[in-house]
Each structure stands twice: as C-alpha cells, then as structure tokens.
C-alpha cells in the first residue's frame, strides 16, 4: 500500500469514526493548508481539524495534515519532492470567541524523494517533532482561518535526518467548518 492510499484510508476512517459518535457535540474543519519553510520551500496540502466537548470542552483540537512541495515549490522546478504527514494536538485559548490563540505539539513523518539511486545512502525520512503556535479566526460564514508559526525540534543535521527538513515554518490554513455534527 503506498503512502497516498494510507493517507486516504486514514482520513476516511477518521471521518467515519467521528460521524459514528452521535451523543456529544463535535466540530470538524477540513480545508487547505499552505506552509512556507524559512529559507526553503513552499509546501501545500490538505488538513483536518477535529474537536468535541470531551476534549476539554473543545479546547483541544486534534489535527491531521498532509503537505508536500509537489503541491508547492516543486511544481515546474528542480526543488526536491518532499512530503509531510503531520498529526497534532493543539490547545485553544479563548475557545468560545471568534479569535483564538492556539499552541500545540505536532508529530508525524517527513519523507524526501531524491529521484536518483546515487543518493540512496542519504537519509530519506525522519520522524517529525514540532511545536506550533498562532491565531485562529472563525468567520460568520462557516470558514475558519489560522496563521501559525512553528519550530521543528528535529531538523536536518547532515548525519541521520534529511537535510531538507528545516526548523522554522509558517502555516496558513483556510478550512470549511462543520459545527455540532
């Protein structure tokens, strides 16, 4: 099973599980995520954000994001093709208000494709560990926008982590909001 299939299955199962629970109030946001890594690539993709009353009265959000330079800097250029599979848990301050402050921890997998067997001796993947913080705004329309900055605690070191995993990143998310599902 390739990575794309795993991602689709993961997203499908996640959504199925969410809809299977009907007792508590839950919010789901799905949409586009754009990431700019400082001094490196623009990497775009899709994201999912889930919260419910059980998660500290919707103060904690669980997130899943797929980002890739294939949908950003690598389009029509020689930029390396690299993918992020990110899962995060973020705490939301002022969660009942339109403008919220968020902070959290991300983990996941980073994979880079060098497209040449000469580079098979280089590290091609790494676990992700990152901190992230920023602002989120819930518009009156069912749209949520967030602007965050983050720091990859694990980043390329010239030894065992791919060198194109850079530390500082900025993210803009635009998501469709489904409340009280």
């Amino acid at each position: 099973m390739n990575r794309k299939t795993i991602t689709i299955v993961f997203l499908f199962l996640s959504v199925s599980v969410l809809f299977a629970q009907k007792i508590i109030s839950r919010d789901l946001r799905v949409g586009l995520v754009m990431q700019q890594t400082q001094y490196l690539y623009n990497e775009n993709g899709v994201g999912l954000d889930y919260t419910c009353e059980r998660l500290l009265d919707k103060k904690i959000h669980i997130k899943a994001t797929y980002l890739s330079s294939r949908l950003g800097s690598a389009i029509g250029t020689n930029a390396l093709k690299q993918d992020y599979y990110v899962f995060g848990a973020h705490y939301y301050f002022m969660s009942k208000k339109s403008l919220q402050i968020l902070a959290g921890l991300n983990t996941g997998l980073f994979v880079v494709d060098y497209e040449n067997p000469a580079f098979d001796i280089l590290p091609k993947s790494s676990a992700i560990l990152a901190i992230e913080t920023g602002l989120q705004y819930d518009f009156k329309l069912p749209i949520t926008a967030s602007l965050t900055a983050g720091y990859n605690v694990r980043s390329g070191n010239g030894v065992d982590i791919p060198g194109s995993l850079f530390p500082v990143f900025y993210k803009l998310s635009i998501m469709y909001r489904i409340k009280d599902i």
Partner: protein
C-alpha cells in the same frame, strides 16, 4: 508593566551590544600578525603570478583555479598543489577569497561578492595570458561562489570558456540549521566561535562575525533558488560533484539539489560521486588529527579522478 519595560530594555541592550571576540594576535588568523601566505608570496600560489609570460606548452597545460571554503585559506588546497607540483601535468592556482586570510575586521566587512572577486580576477588574468584549459574547483563555500558565476552568466563574456568545474563537499544547505536563524539571533550573539585542531590554527578564522554568517546564508539561499530554476553550464564545460555522505558542515542534501539544478549546455546531467566519508572537505587531510586509511584512500581517489578529468 515595569517588568515588561525591563525585559524590553534588556533585549534592546543585547541587540545593540554586538559583542566583540577576544583575539590572540600571536596564534589566531583573526589577529593582525598572521596572514595567509598568498598575500606575501602570491607567485607561490597564483599561476598568473608564477608564470608571467607563458610558453605555448604552458598555455596548453590545464590549470585548476582552486577556491577554498568559508573562513578558510589557501591551505585547504595545498595538498592538490603539492600533487600538481609532483605530477607536472597540470597547475593549481590557489586563490584567497576576499576578506579571508587577513583579520577579523576584514572578514566582518566583506560581502560574498568580495569573496568571489579573487576567483574572477584569476580567471580573467589566466585567459588574458592565453591559458586555454582552465578548470575551476570549489570546496565548501567555494562551490556556491562558482555556481553563482555560472548562473549569473559571468563566463559569457569570455572567448575561452572553463573546461570544467569540480565541487568538493559543496554547501547549498548548512548542516547546522541555526544558520537559518542568523537574522534573528545574529545581532545578539555578535559572532560564533569555531574549534580548530592544532594543525589548523592560523589557517582558519576562529571567530565568525554574524555579518559574514549573513553573507553566507544569503549566498547559499541565492544558490538554492537559482538551482530550483535550473542552471546551464557554459558551452563545452563539464561539472562533477564529490560529496561526503556524512558532513556536519555542508549538509549532504546539497548534492541532490546541485545534481537536479545543474545541466550541461547540451542538456545532460552533471556527474556525481558520493564518498563514504564523514569529513567536511574530505580532500583536505593536512592539519587534521585522527586521519584513517579510508580518508587517505578517498583523497587519493578524488584527486586521481580530477587529474584524469583534466587530461581528457
């Protein structure tokens, strides 16, 4: 509120102070007593100085203009020059990058364009003297300086194009990712300190001013962006990348970035060879401690290959 003001004022004071290092003039290249020998004996290092009026045979002999890395000196290419002197089939012209091999103040004031100027000057002098088989080699930061000369079309103005380029442990991405934060933390730190082995003392700067680190970051970021767009070598030129698979200075990911971004004039890929080494600039062994047989084999293999390439 007082606490907020105190923190703010402390931060501003830190940013404003830009600390200066303590330089030992007697032992450090950063001081005003030790300089790179090419400054006082240029004819020993530069072929344009060594051969004032070249014969026809000398003009046909391959010359490798060798550019060293950030904070280093001509010392980095001494071993290739020694090999050239022994073989007598090619010359090595060791250029000292601008702002290097002098003192801390010069290093602090120099831009990457200043670093590059020495390479351009030697290429211009050699072509003017009629040398026909000119190659350029860059180790570490010497490599992006050469790549920028290619991407900016520097060689277009010359009738005599370079025959080839050799990039040894080229840096496009730094292994130390703190360099990407130099704009933020640089003014607070003022400089960073590197630890030299005994045999390296007086050959490298110990202190790296934040101004020069910003220049390094600007150069490698520009190089990466140009590689993403694609860079075509001058007509008839070839290029080979020699890269250690583990490198705590120039991240090995620099190699695939260069490989993808560079093409010969007829659209072919450049050559790449990854070395089983954990040394940065694995072709320089002099001055290092703990050199093992594998390191010597790697150096010999790379030098032999370069020698073979200039013969072709």
């Amino acid at each position: 509120m007082k606490l907020v003001y105190t923190i703010l004022i402390s931060c501003l004071a830190l940013i404003a102070c830009n600390p200066q290092p303590e330089i030992d003039n007697a032992t450090m290249l950063d001081g005003n007593q030790i300089n790179d020998l090419s400054l006082t004996q240029p004819s020993k290092y530069l072929v344009s100085e060594y051969i004032a009026n070249p014969t026809t045979a000398q003009k046909d002999t391959p010359v490798i203009i060798a550019a060293h890395g950030y904070s280093a000196t001509t010392f980095e290419w001494d071993e290739l020059r020694d090999r050239a002197n022994l073989k007598k089939t090619f010359y090595v012209s060791q250029v000292l990058l601008g702002g290097h091999g002098r003192d801390y103040a010069d290093f602090k004031a120099a831009t990457w364009e200043n670093w590059q100027e020495a390479i351009k000057t030697e290429y211009q002098k050699l072509t003017t003297k009629g040398f026909k088989n000119i190659y350029l080699a860059g180790s570490s930061t010497g490599a992006p300086l050469l790549v920028e000369m290619i991407s900016s079309g520097y060689f277009n103005a010359f009738t005599i194009k370079p025959k080839g380029f050799f990039l040894i442990d080229p840096i496009v991405v730094s292994s130390n990712k703190t360099l990407t934060l130099v704009g933020l933390v640089g003014p607070v730190l003022g400089y960073t300190t590197s630890i030299l082995e005994t045999g390296e003392a007086g050959k490298w700067y110990v202190y790296r001013p934040q101004e020069s680190l910003k220049q390094l970051m600007a150069l490698i970021d520009l190089t990466r962006k140009n590689l993403e767009k694609g860079i075509v070598l001058p007509t008839g030129s070839k290029l080979k990348i020699y890269k250690s698979k583990i490198d705590a200075t120039a991240d090995p990911v620099s190699a695939p970035m260069l490989y993808k971004g560079l093409k010969t004039n007829d659209g072919k890929n450049v050559e790449i060879e990854m070395y089983d080494s954990d040394l940065h600039v694995f072709t320089r062994l002099r001055g290092r401690i703990g050199v093992i047989a594998k390191d010597t084999q790697n150096q010999t293999a790379a030098f032999s290959d370069m020698e073979l390439q200039v013969k072709l």
